[in-house]
Amino acid sequence: MERHQSAALVAPILTARDAGLVGCRGCGRVWPQGTPTCGRCGARLVPVDVRGLQAVWAWLIAGLIFYVPANLYPMLLTKTLTGHLENTILGGVIELLAHHNYGVAAIVFGASIVIPIGKFIAIAYLALAVGNERRAGGHRHLRLYEVVEFIGRWSMIDVFVVAILSALVQLGFVATINPGPAAASFALSVAFTMLSAQSFDPRLIWRGPPDTAGNK
């Protein structure tokens, strides 16, 4: 009740849920509550449910778990005539810095460390925020969500680089590059965070606390 009160205090906006409508996630058309499928695009109409946040959390945690070995294990196994190199992500960044390749170092650092960690923080923040019914931040949250959604796929840039290098540099004993165990972990981690972002229902940003609509 106090939530309701607080919500009423700060939220003058009329949401679809307040109006007894349910929005289609496919095309955005709203239908009266209880309509099973969208009449326009045929997508199944799912009522907004805070339980969807469980999936967000689950994927997020899985992504985090895989992010640990992704940073501890080597990403690239480089074998050349003279030596054998194993580079972790952070090790590679440090090495690039040592060679004064600041630009490349910044890109690798951004794509492999800043973005994934930012994504974890952003998703976790969103999931926590919608659970706490902060409608006031709705627009900001939506923008954050869109950024996360957009940027998520670019985290795979590392994995692509590793995949391409491994495919191209197979010159027998002269030089060989193979993906390290971190590459798979990193790919899984990125995939799981993308799934996490996907499972987040942006309608929750606008929706009130779970019980308010049902009991009114």
Binding site: A55, A58, W59, A62, I65
Partner: protein, 673 residues
């Protein structure tokens, strides 16, 4: 009463959803992810093997994370860390060894670095140029408590697996041309290698470990002999010159060959000691010797000089060769009066087999036996053997009248055998005398003059003209023979003798009459003075000069021309002789002698016709007697006469000697030798 039978309003309390019903299946995903991650982490942790540490003197080519540890050329680990020991004296390598192998790495494990190597045997491990240095390890299959701290070897061991052959030890006097890694050859096959060449801790020699590979080590028996084949040998014999080079490697690095010359040896145990002989001949000669290691050593202290003794000098036990001298040194000590005493310390090694014991007899038993002998009067002494008595030996023999002695069993470094004086006191002196006599021989001069003679002879002999000489010579000799014969026939010699006799008697008579003839005396004195003044010495000098010139001429390159000149001279001489004969030289001589005889007769006649004068002069003589006696025997006149006669005699003798020389060796006279 009539109450509305309406049930009481239901109190609806929303059922508390149990947490599991609210949980989505999706939570399985992070659980599985966690399980997988933890599983991988645990597996990689548990599989990462055991860390062992190996200390090397340097870490050339070792790279952490890359350099493998190999066992029988299979990778079983990887270098993880490269650091230093606490004292920074060596490098400590941390190696992560696979779990399944780690339990076998115990105290017996050996580690060494494998890198490309260029040696006399060739280039080895070229593969490591590309693959990089790696650590090789060897350990056996026996499970002992594992260790984690090791010290690496500097070189790859010859035989990491001791069961793949037999290790034996070789003792030699010096290392000669041997080097570590030198091959051991058996009938031309390389069957092993030498390692760990080092100074012996028992005596002054060197010791080296030898490894003979597995099937060949069966050839080793206790009768096997090893010898050094370093370098090459050249031998000159009836079959010509033979050059023996075993292999290029043995030329550079030395080599050892072995063979078993006699049967009856026992199988050897690993570590058996063998003597390394300097050559095959020595090795063959030593078949009946025991190994050097079984020899029992004794010390001898000599007060006298032992020049002539050297290492290897034989030791005779009652006349039988029983050992040899191992070492010579000086021992300075103080006697009971505090004087410094310098003595020669000789170490001898006695072979127990030669004393009728087993080869491996305990040294103490041998020493005890010797002690008993010493008590019965046995002593060590120096003796000379050989043709000239110059080869010295150490003799262990009973000496008559020797008081029972005692052996110093606690002697340093070996039990001390009492010694007796050498068989001859001036032993050293005589040995030295022989040497100095030999040394004093003018061998070099002899050689030089021989060479000069040879050169001259060769020069003369090679010349065409020389070949013509013998003919001329024989002709000349024939002529000479004829002349001599003619002279003999005409009785020249007899006549000459007769003439001389007459001259002598005339002279005697003259002498007899002379005593009364002061004038004559004065004349004779003058004559004698003249004769004394005759330049006989000059003539000798001149002859010498001529001979010198002749020699010089023979020494010059013109000497080649000599034979022609010589033959010409001979021709001329022959011609002259022929002329002489034809011209009746003998007759002339005869007539000359005849004249001499006549003269002698005349003198005799004169002498005979002078009695009056003699008589008349007798008085004078009598008067002069006093005068003459005043002169006495040692008067200047007599002395003068004697001197003159002596001079004459000497000149005659010189001429006679010259004549004899020419007679004996006319060639020598001609050739100046």
């Amino acid at each position: 009463m009539t109450q509305d039978p309406r049930p009481a309003a239901l109190v609806k309390t929303p059922a508390q959803n149990p947490i599991w019903t609210r949980l989505s299946v999706i939570w399985l995903v992070p659980l599985v992810a966690l399980a997988i991650t933890l599983g991988v982490a645990w597996k990689s942790y548990s599989d990462r093997g055991i860390l062992i540490e190996i200390d090397f003197s340097d870490a050339t080519g070792l790279r952490p994370g890359e350099t493998p540890l190999k066992f029988r050329e299979v990778e079983v680990g990887r270098v993880e860390t490269v650091g230093f020991t606490e004292d920074l004296k060596s490098v400590r390598i941390g190696v992560r060894v696979q779990k399944d192998v780690a339990p076998f790495i115990d105290g017996s494990a050996q580690f060494w670095l494998v890198r490309p190597e260029v040696s006399a045997q060739g280039i080895s491990r070229l593969d490591t140029v590309l693959s990089g240095t790696f650590i090789e390890g060897y350990w056996d299959a026996a499970l002992s408590p594992p260790e984690t701290r090791f010290t690496g070897l500097d070189h790859a061991p010859l035989a990491p697996d001791p069961t793949s052959g037999t290790w034996v030890t070789l003792h030699a006097d010096d290392a000669g041309g041997l080097a570590d890694g030198a091959p051991i050859i058996f009938r031309g096959l390389t069957v092993g290698r030498l390692q760990n060449l080092r100074l012996s801790d028992v005596d002054e020699g060197v010791t080296v470990d030898a490894f003979i590979k597995a099937p060949h080590d069966k050839r080793l028996t206790s009768r096997t002999r090893f010898w050094d084949t370093s370098g090459f040998s050249v031998s000159l014999g009836t079959g010509g010159v033979s050059l023996d080079v075993r292999s290029l490697a043995s030329l550079v690095q030395g080599g050892v060959e072995f063979s078993t010359f006699s049967s009856g040896g026992l199988p050897v145990q690993p570590g058996h000691g063998f003597r390394l002989y300097s050559g095959e001949t020595e090795a063959r000669d030593s078949i009946f010797d025991g190994g050097a290691d079984t020899a029992v050593r004794f010390t001898l202290l000599f007060d006298e000089a032992v020049r002539g003794i050297e290492r290897g000098t034989k030791v005779l036990f009652r006349g039988v060769e029983a050992g040899e001298v191992k070492d010579l040194s000086i021992r300075v000590s103080e006697d009971s009066l505090g004087n410094r005493v310098v003595r020669q310390q000789i170490t001898i090694a006695i072979n127990p087999e030669r004393l009728g014991m087993t080869a491996d007899a305990d040294p103490e038993i041998v020493a005890g036996f010797m002690e008993g002998e010493v008590e019965r009067g046995m002593r060590a002494r120096l003796a000379g053997t050989g043709l000239l008595g110059t080869t010295l030996v150490v003799e262990l023999t009973d000496i008559d009248g020797m008081a029972p002695g005692k052996m110093d069993m606690a002697g340093d470094p070996f039990p001390i055998l009492p010694v007796a004086p050498a068989t001859s006191n001036d032993l050293a002196a005589s040995a030295e005398g022989v040497i100095s006599r030999v040394g004093a021989l003018p061998i070099e001069e002899l050689f030089a003059s021989t060479i000069r003679v040879m050169d001259s002879i060769a020069m003369v002999a090679e010349s065409e003209d020389t070949r013509a000489v013998p003919g001329e010579l024989s002709t000349l000799l024939e002529e000479l023979g004829k002349l001599t014969k003619a002279l003999n026939e005409q009785g020249a010699a007899d006549k000459t003798i007769a003439a001389l006799d007459q001259v002598m008697s005339a002279a005697e008579r003259l002498y007899g009459s002379v005593e009364g003839l002061p004038e004559t005396l004065v004349e004779v004195q003058k004559l004698a003075a003249n004769a004394a003044n005759m330049p006989l010495a000059d003539i000798g000098d001149q002859i010498d000069g001529i001979l010198k010139d002749l020699r010089a001429m023979l020494g010059t390159s013109d000497a080649e021309k000599l034979p022609r000149a010589l033959s010409d001279t001979l021709n001329e001489a022959a011609g002259l002789l022929a002329e002489l004969r034809a011209g009746g030289a003998a007759d002339n001589l005869n007539s000359a002698l005849g004249s001499a005889q006549t003269a002698a007769d005349a003198i005799a006649g004169a002498s005979a016709s002078l009695p009056d004068v003699t008589k008349r002069l007798e008085a004078l003589i009598a008067r002069a007697d006093a005068l003459v006696s005043a002169y006495g025997e040692r008067s200047p006149f007599n002395a003068e006469m004697l001197n003159t006669m002596r001079e004459l005699r000497r000149a005659t003798a010189a001429f006679g000697a010259l004549a004899r020389t020419i007679e004996r060796n006319p060639r020598a006279f001609i050739l100046g030798r």
